[in-house]
Symmetry: C2
Amino acid sequence: MKLQSFAEYPFVEGGVCAAKGFRAAGICCGLKHQELSTTAAAAVSASEPDHKPKKNDLAMIVSDSECAAAAVYTSNKVKGAPILVTKQHLQDGKARAVIVNSVNANTCNADGVEKATAMCKLAADALQIAPEDVIVASTGVIGQVLPIEPIAAAVPALTEALSYEGNAAALNAIMTTDTRPKEVAVSFQVGDVTCKLGGMLKGSGMIHPNMATTLTFLTTDCAIAPEMLQRALSDVVRVTLNRVSVDGDQSTNDMACVMANGAAGNQQITAENANYVAFRGALYAVMLNLARMCAADGEGATKLIECVVSQAESEQIAETVAKSVICSSLLKAAMFGADANWGRIACAMGYADCDFDVAKVDVDLASAAGKIAVARNGFGVPFSEDEAKKVLLEDEIQLLISLNSGEAAAVAWGCDLTYDYVKINGDYRS
Amino acid sequence: MKLQSFAEYPFVEGGVCAAKGFRAAGICCGLKHQELSTTAAAAVSASEPDHKPKKNDLAMIVSDSECAAAAVYTSNKVKGAPILVTKQHLQDGKARAVIVNSVNANTCNADGVEKATAMCKLAADALQIAPEDVIVASTGVIGQVLPIEPIAAAVPALTEALSYEGNAAALNAIMTTDTRPKEVAVSFQVGDVTCKLGGMLKGSGMIHPNMATTLTFLTTDCAIAPEMLQRALSDVVRVTLNRVSVDGDQSTNDMACVMANGAAGNQQITAENANYVAFRGALYAVMLNLARMCAADGEGATKLIECVVSQAESEQIAETVAKSVICSSLLKAAMFGADANWGRIACAMGYADCDFDVAKVDVDLASAAGKIAVARNGFGVPFSEDEAKKVLLEDEIQLLISLNSGEAAAVAWGCDLTYDYVKINGDYRS
């Protein structure tokens, strides 16, 4: 997938370790087969050629100093225990470390909060920080008891493995059905000071708008007050992660969090000034790309579908229409088949919960292979099926919808629906 | 699929021809390959062993006398032209015939209303009735111009073929990706008079609650005033067709209509009395079974999923939760794999747009093979995966959810998500 770049925010290497003063590590503690072994598990680097059988399942991200911290959470009423614990820990807008496991979501378990709290305590003790400064997250199967023993046994080795180059190993640990690691980092200017901001994301299924979508961890060395950090995060999530849907299923464990340690040395951002705008721009550059990567790597996906709705009366209308289209199972299956069955776009627009004039709608299909008009003023127009096929055989497809009734626009991202989605989810737990 | 039976409403043969005075016919006019041939197409019975290559695509249902008529329509803002025309024709609560085609939805076409009107005129002329007494419906691909010539050429032969045993041929004509014909009829008592009510339904994909769902045609020889007929239909659709979802895609052409010709000779039902209750019960018995058949034959489906939510504070809450569960792609894929990944039920309940206490939720999985508890008070309980697998390998699965906070209940119906759904929809138009 091609990254979308912005001149003011050049990409840099390092993911969550790009910003100064952040170390990370990932390890395989053995949650996959729930072996309650107490022997320390071996750290596995994501770059090892044989990493698959030993995929990491436990990660930490740690700042050298206290951070301003902010997060957004799933709006699912059924919330993973880690969400409840993290919410409490971030009440003071401060944090210093993240501990996160995959394989088991620690959700719908009677002892969930107890286990999530224990994970924080384990990390805090090893790092000699307060448990309230630890963010905890889990992802994986819902409703199975999380064994704490493998985690307890692995935390010393995990702490030992922390490094300023540990981003890939940590990222490997949070992946579930993800087929590709997803991380991005950029540098940006705050006054004369160069800051960095980077992030990693896991998420492939159970992904739907109106939530924090997936697990996303972001770090920056920019100095910014907790309330401004929260404002920027909420603002950017709204137009990035909250506009991604893979399968319409909104997870119980979704969370996006950001830690800002101020190590870059800029004057702290405390108001919505030019520096805030620069910071929010960097956050957008990172999260937009993470969102696109997330959609493109949706479970079983072969294509990224980007729906751009423009000339709408309001952004709300544009967003509702765009989301409705990318969520349509029928359209997603047609995209898999590279079939220009645009009537399914019309259908999905028609059941979007908002008002617009159907008789003004124009629809085009576009990709690197070209652009083709399929509807004008709400009605079909003749087009070459061969040309359309060529456009749809690319792996990044744009559905361009103009409502011709205003100036607002919104973009939403999804993917095609494939045999592999069914395969992956027909027997996810084995 | 086993029919759900009710003692007061014994099943009878005949589908839309079960009630006195209704004739039907189906024919292949050649819309599939859009051959604009003007030679009359040959009538094809649904029972012919080689009916597949010559599947019917045009049907009529005709009453010997004027009928009270009522209908409910899709709430999709993009409406098929036939919907617009039928709505106008039913303003007086009267009708006498239905003409319906498959293959082409006559939707999003600049000349759609003109073509739908022409279809009514063709039927009316052949039957020597008023065009305003004709209900018109179309189903198939959206956004392709409907050729009227094959229909015009076929109407004389279609009219000729009308018979009191024509229900199967008519039903064959409305099927698209349906793998099984779906028709039910019952008899019932209105005072001393025996009446009959029957219906047929097409629909396999693009099926989602909050609409009339699919095309459904119902006929009865019971005498009932148009306003009472409309009330009964709206009432029953709410708890049957509107609680079915195959893929979350709400069609542009959905319609359920009923014609009542009074040929049974009962005293006309004009108020909500015992006779009305008997009539509504018959309608429910037919539509409940059509709804279940529709879900069970969802595109690519191998199983019917019935979600029963009970002990809810209100029916609205029970319905919202039940629909949310049957719409979850992840759960549907797990059901295909007979995987008791009940966390996906919890997840889908959690994002249902209504309030209930998660900590009170009990969940059981059931089928002809047994019943198994998977969650109590919102948390997982230990269960045998082998036993659960046995339960889920059946082809009718019940997801039993108790909210333990009231006395209301609701049922919703869906199906599993399979490779075949993707296959069918990856290239629907070819």
